[in-house]
């Protein structure tokens, strides 16, 4: 049992293949840094496939999000892109939502159905992400062929205009974001996102971002900053509540954060040098592989699930690292040449 490649997790009492843990942390950092979109969707399934009980996988995922989001919020707040008033109002909904999500997880754990339920919900979520990524690629391709290089088309859904007309007090004006609406609107949005985030152990940006833009009517750059702020809050509260419920494996959080810190830098730097849409396809394939591996795990093919998920996220990391190292080397070479 005590081979070099396993690490004893004292709280959940399982022996874990620790290089897998480092790889998952690193990939999440790398992919998150590169695409600017969480990446937490692979942590819960990944941890579960590596051998953590589902509730521990969710708790550990949310704790690692808290650690990771701290730094990105710090960075972002420098640009003044956060509407703190909106963020603070949304805290109410987020916190209550997370708590409900976590309570549901604990309930399902008692009933003994948590594994399959969370896995199938994840399969659904990843399928949606997959469709989104591939459809985007398809559309961009078609546009390129048609010779249309214009920016986004006409304004599409403007639901927020209707929603802003609902005048349930208290009405609040958000100065940074520049609109007035009933306080209940952001609270409801953050509440529903919070439930999902608490239940799946994700940051929730995937849902919250579009909701902020299309339902609340935030300008995109403010939505990005405010969403990051909200991810941090939801991560911190999620960590606390899952910790108090005893479902966080603190060793795993540390190991993953180490990997994530390095990965995030590589990912963000790589965005400087990335060209083309090809990487999106790689991303979509990674999501697809993650989805398939969850299904494999569900039907008891543990080893193949582990190999598939680690292989998929590993290869996309290698791709991003390659972009970064070749790009950085070129830049440094050019700098040197310029100084001579």
């Amino acid at each position: 049992m005590l081979e070099w490649y396993t690490m004893y997790m004292p709280i959940s009492g399982v022996d874990i293949f620790w290089p897998g843990l480092v790889l998952i942390g690193f990939s999440v950092g790398c992919i998150g840094g590169f695409f600017g979109m969480g990446g937490a969707w692979m942590v819960t399934p990944g941890l579960n496939i590596l051998g953590f009980p589902m509730a521990f996988a969710i708790g550990t995922d949310i704790a690692h999000i808290a650690g990771k989001s701290m730094i990105s919020t710090f960075r972002h707040s420098k640009f003044g892109n956060v509407d703190y008033k909106l963020g603070c109002i949304m805290i109410i909904g987020t916190v209550i939502g997370i708590e409900i999500g976590a309570q549901v997880v604990m309930w399902l754990e008692r009933l003994g159905t948590i594994g399959p339920v969370v896995r199938w919900v994840y399969v659904g979520l990843l399928a949606l992400i997959c469709i989104m990524v591939f459809y985007d690629y398809y559309k961009a391709n078609k546009k390129k062929k048609a010779g249309d290089v214009g920016e986004h088309g006409a304004e599409g859904i403007t639901w927020y205009k209707t929603l802003h007309r609902i005048k349930i007090p208290p009405m609040v004006h958000f100065k940074t974001a520049g609109f007035t609406c009933s306080a209940w609107l952001p609270i409801m949005v953050s509440f529903l996102t919070g439930i999902l985030a608490g239940f799946l152990g994700i940051g929730g940006g995937l849902i919250r971002m579009p909701a902020l833009v299309y339902l609340i009517g935030c300008p995109t750059h403010i939505a990005v900053g405010t969403d990051l702020f909200e991810v941090m809050i939801s991560g911190l509260y999620g960590t606390f509540t899952y910790g108090a419920k005893g479902r966080i494996e603190i060793y795993a959080v540390f190991v993953m954060l180490m990997g994530a810190a390095i990965g995030a830098q590589i990912g963000t730097v790589a965005t400087k040098y990335a060209k083309g849409y090809g990487i999106r396809i790689a991303f979509g394939l990674a999501v697809l592989a993650c989805m398939v591996s969850i299904i494999l795990k569900q039907y008891g093919f543990n080893t193949s699930a582990t190999v598939l998920i680690l292989g998929a996220v590993g290869s996309i990391c290698v791709y991003i690292c390659w972009i970064m190292f070749s790009g950085a080397a070129k830049e440094l070479r050019e700098k040197k040449a310029a100084s001579h």
């Binding site: 049992m1 959940s12 009492g13 399982v14 051998g51 009980p53 589902m54 509730a55 710090f74 754990e109 003994g112 948590i114 594994g115």
Partner: protein
């Protein structure tokens, strides 16, 4: 930038202070339930050691029995004689006061 660093260091120091507050220590014992009396709220176990082997994944019996007081314990699934339990306890006035008790046999959370 300086202000942020100051805040950061202050929070680091506070955390350290927070962490050196009296450590919360509890003993842990694991073993096979011999009797579990719900009326007197006490449980007797035969203690196991920590030499885990594939045959004895919960450890080997030491032959030593221990009695625990469950009056203030957080109890999950009720243990019946024969169940393997893991107990976190404190010794108060010579009594083994249980804080929480885990029924290892019946809640095999690893499978989920």
């Amino acid at each position: 930038m300086k202000k942020r660093f100051c805040l950061y260091y202050i929070s680091c120091v506070l955390t350290l202070i927070f962490l050196v507050t009296p450590a919360l220590a509890a003993e842990v014992a694991q073993g096979k339930t011999v009797t579990n009396d719900t009326k007197t709220k006490s449980i007797t176990i035969e203690e196991y050691d920590i030499n885990f082997t594939p045959q004895n994944k919960y450890g080997n019996p030491t032959g030593k029995t221990m009695v625990f007081d469950l009056s203030e314990a957080l109890i999950g699934k009720e243990a019946v004689p024969g169940d393997i339990v893991r107990i976190a306890y404190k010794v108060v006035d010579g009594k083994n006061k249980v804080i929480r008790i885990m029924n290892v046999t019946r809640q095999d959370i690893m499978k989920k």
